[in-house]
Subunit: 159 residues, 3 copies
């Protein structure tokens, strides 16, 4: 392991911490900036993912599609607002291929609705592909595989 | 990034892990030792914090005030005891100014009351200022911004 | 702190992340491989552990005993299956003795039963002894001290 590897690990930890901080602060306009231009963001139930079924709760391709989603969340979707709080476990590099890292991390999202106690909202695993760009590490692909099919209401905000 | 930076990151991770371990073991007497002599510890609801409202659930200044609080918790406050368990996400350095680091980390506190299942108690974000002292890293300021205004009973122990 | 220490920290983070990933994927056959041949795995309520009472919910010694348990979980125990999701906080080295590291980490296990929302299942602290082997870091001892005595149903899978 070289000093470069150690730096990479620190940068990865920062990537996930920054991603969580962005979403939890509700700064959705900044969310697409964590992805490469040509990217994929998918949210899928574990049952479907494990069986290789293609159906996902959400499946967006390209940063433009992410920006569309943000517009929808902020301007057209009718929903009761809620706070998110991501607790993300240590990120683990599971492979690399021509400069693309495969990275996994467990996540837990706590949801807080106005005048309600905080509650477990969504738990699962990020299956990500990460690349180094001039602006730092970015997600080329982020697949959020969540454990429960029974989501309290729908998933409005990015996971 | 230098080897010194990497060391700092490891030390920061240890600071947060040690802080959590201290509180979760109920070693409240050791809690003020994680702060500098001249310090601030504040617990505030996100709604108030985001609007710049000064009112906090708790706002202590100086290590002596923290020691007073510990005395209260252990000797005068009437409350049903409970266990805390902190799960803290990766700490992220968001700035530094003349040797003071601004550090943020998401946290989740699980509470367990006697003969009850464990439950989500408090989730939020630490907004901290950390300085290096002869005894290691210490909190000069720790602001715990929690997401839910609806706390199950009151917050007795430090967050 | 040397570069070797930093590497060790990264390796430790990977050990815990890999352990969580193995269990959460339900790859129980691989679970004993995280331990040394001569090992101990114990699950004990905090109340009993703090009082020095020997009684644990589970107490296995040697890797063979772990393999027996896995066989039981997969083949003979009658239970409704559920998903686990581990969120593990930063691991902290609390001591070392002749090549054996004492390591602590807070953990939270979220459980998801079929057609049910995810819920807090088990929260507590790992009290581990870790050694370096030719195949990487392994647990010589793992004691899972959980906060709540009131477990929703029993603990079937490893924590």
């Amino acid at each position: 392991m070289t000093s470069l590897d150690l730096e990479l690990r620190v940068d990865l930890a920062d990537l996930y911490a920054g991603y969580a901080a962005c979403l939890d602060a509700g700064l959705f306009d900044e969310w697409p900036g964590f992805f490469t231009e040509d990217c994929r963001y998918k949210v899928v139930a574990r049952e479907n993912h494990d069986r290789g079924l293609p159906l996902g709760t959400m499946d967006l391709q390209s940063r433009g599609a992410l920006m569309d989603r943000v517009y929808g969340v902020q301007s057209t979707l009718f929903h009761a607002p809620y706070y998110q709080r991501h607790i993300i476990g240590p990120a683990r590099v599971t492979g690399h291929d021509h400069g693309t890292l495969s990275v996994e991390a467990n996540y837990l999202v706590i949801r807080t609705k106005r005048d309600s106690p905080s509650e477990v909202f969504n738990a699962g695993r990020y299956l990500d592909r990460v690349v180094a760009t001039d602006e730092g590490l970015r997600f080329q692909e982020k697949i959020c595989v969540f454990d429960s099919e029974l989501i309290p209401n729908s998933i409005i905000y990015p996971i």
